[in-house]
């Protein structure tokens, strides 16, 4: 979850604060957890709300707040030799689509769980997952453009 929050917060300290607030809120409101959903879905939902709350009411996109030198995600990838696709995703996708892609591919959540976590409809989730995939696919330099391998 801290990895995910690093992609949504302007600094490492913000991500840690959101993580702390999320765990406290989850502990405090444990009685409101609905067992029909995965626990991680509920946890991510709280985290996404807390991260949005930290950004303030202006609802600026994460990219608008980020300082390249202090970008927590870049700092965490400094040691990596290869280019991380999530950096491209963060630049190419908006916050909600990025979150949907993260929950799908980094957390292996189902479409329904993603819909619940993002408070979106299942159809919105499906459509935007498809769009996100196509955007990333076209961005990959080693992937032929004309390929039609989608499900």
């Amino acid at each position: 979850m801290l990895r995910f929050l690093l992609t949504r917060c302007a600094s490492y300290a913000d991500a840690e604060d959101v993580l702390q607030d999320t765990l406290i809120a989850a502990f405090r409101y444990l009685h409101s957890y609905d067992a029909r959903w995965r626990f991680s879905t509920w946890l991510y939902r709280i985290a996404i709300r807390n991260a949005a709350k930290l950004r303030g009411p202006d609802l600026l996109e994460v990219g608008e707040l980020r300082d390249e030198e202090n970008d927590p995600l870049l700092q965490c990838m400094a040691d990596s030799e290869s280019e991380n696709l999530w950096l491209n995703a963060r630049q190419l996708l908006n916050d909600d689509v990025f979150a949907a892609m993260w929950l799908r591919y980094a957390e292996d959540m189902s479409v329904n769980d993603i819909s619940k976590a993002l408070d979106r409809s299942a159809s919105w989730t499906k459509v935007n997952l498809m769009r996100g995939r196509r955007t990333l696919e076209s961005n990959l330099s080693d992937v032929p453009e004309q390929s039609e391998a989608y499900g």
Partner: protein, 134 residues
């Protein structure tokens, strides 16, 4: 390998390649925060007192009894109220009498008719006397 599988695999690997660790300081902060708060209990719904079944039955019986009384009072006949006239069929009530009488011939003289009637009456009287044994 399909393109989508490749993309999904790459996304998973890249997510795992983000080097993140929860520092001891953050761990302590979270632990201290969790110890400081206590989970809220689910809100208790106000419990409405359950009335015994006896109350329900008593109110039902009382209602029915009241309805019966009202209906009885509304239909009670006042003592001074005149009885409605019932038309009687008198003809049907009286038993039929078989009279053997000859039709009067109004063209004959009245005296002759009267003699005939008296003669018939005497014959009938004699017949009755014989029948009753006098």
């Amino acid at each position: 390998m399909k393109l989508m599988d490749k993309l999904a695999k790459r996304l998973r690997e890249d997510a795992a390649n983000i080097n993140v660790s929860v520092s001891d300081e953050l761990d302590r902060r979270i632990e201290a925060s969790l110890l400081a708060v206590s989970p809220e209990m689910a809100e208790q719904r106000p419990v409405t007192p359950v009335k015994p079944a006896l109350f329900w039955w008593a109110s039902t019986v009382t209602g029915i009894a009241a309805a019966v009384v009202v209906i009885a009072i509304m239909n009670w006949r006042a003592p001074g109220q005149p009885v409605a006239d019932v038309p009687l069929n008198i003809v049907a009530a009286v038993p039929a009498i078989d009279l053997k009488a000859e039709a009067a011939v109004l063209t004959n003289p009245l005296q002759e008719e009267l003699d005939n009637l008296e003669s018939d009456l005497k014959k009938a009287e004699e017949k009755v006397r014989r029948d009753i044994g006098l």
